[in-house]
Amino acid sequence: MVIQCAIIFGCLALGELIVWLTGIKLPSSMIGMLLLTTLLSTKVIKLKHVEGMANFLVKNLGFFFVPAAVSLMLFFDIIKAQWLPILLAATLSTMLVIVVTGWIHQLMRKL
């Protein structure tokens, strides 16, 4: 457990370091994720040294943002004031993403 946390938090800390050093506009957690994948595929880290904790975290991803969703109550006013653009933009764009991704994938497979 401690080793698994050391690896995951180590990758996160490296991600933070990269953001701090370069000022890159990327989340440190995403950089940490790519670092973890790289370390696994280059066999620097074995899957068993990180898998248990990683599965636990990924499985409970949803739970970890309940407080953020609760904080939504602070933004009722901004949502209420702009509900139409938010609703229409999100739904139209979601349908467009489904269609474009699917079409292009089918097209590429035929080529």
Partner: protein
């Protein structure tokens, strides 16, 4: 009544409400009863009813939120496991995901701007297609409102899961891989769970879709927003 604002009580309440919501969703099988949505609505009503402020709730809540970043790092493990599947179909996957990602960001920004949304709202919508922790991180990075993004991401997930297969039937997207990655790309984990209902193959490609679009969205959103002149 003062006890109700105790940090450990509020943490316990959050765990219990979430566990109950998960049971309710698995019993009913209704996508709309998303545990995050149900828990958040319950807790918001509880806080309004008892007059406890969000700051008090977050004294405990921050310990839950703390795990978001390590959880995103942990997504590196499923990504590593999918590497051989990604390599086999590398070009079709990358090109279609890239197109879906770019179209998703540009279209949501354009429609929102056209309908007069404020800059903060537009920035919060850009990453709406990807899984919440990533979307919130992206929104934080570009200067939007992460909580608004969380709400929109949940709505997008519910909407995509409910309408996805209908939209694909109407537009003749029939191949299981195309359907899987489309759902994962457009509607993240909730689209993936809908794809899992149909078969594991759909689900596997949906999780691939959500992972790749998560990375693309994190990498490209700031640049696309800069090119569009939003930031």
């Amino acid at each position: 009544m003062e006890y109700l604002s105790n940090m450990y009580f509020l943490l316990a309440l959050t765990f219990i409400v979430y566990a109950a919501s998960q049971i309710i969703q698995s019993r009913t099988g209704w996508t709309i009863l998303n545990p995050i949505l149900v828990s958040a609505i319950f807790i918001i009503i509880f806080l309004k009813f008892t007059g406890i402020g969000i700051e008090t709730y977050n004294e405990g809540g921050k310990y839950i939120e703390f795990w978001l970043k390590p959880a995103v790092v942990a997504l590196g493990v499923p990504l590593y496991k999918e590497l051989s599947a990604i390599k086999k179909q590398f070009i079709p996957l990358i090109v279609s995901e890239l197109a879906g990602c770019i179209v998703g960001i540009i279209s949501v920004v354009l429609v929102a701007q056209l309908l007069g949304a404020s800059k903060e709202v537009v920035l919060s919508l850009a990453a709406k297609s990807v899984t919440t922790p990533i979307a919130m991180e992206v929104t934080k990075a570009v200067g939007g409102i992460p909580s608004l993004t969380a709400a929109v991401v949940i709505c997008v997930g519910i909407f995509g899961g409910m309408t996805g297969f209908k939209v694909m039937r109407l537009t003749h997207i029939g191949s299981p891989i195309a359907q899987g990655i489309s759902l994962g790309t457009a509607a993240h984990a909730m689209g993936t769970s809908r794809a899992m209902d149909v078969s594991d193959k759909y689900g596997a490609f949906a999780s691939l879709g959500l992972t790749i679009n998560g990375i693309f969205t994190a990498l490209l959103t700031p640049t696309i927003l800069e090119i569009m002149g939003v930031i």
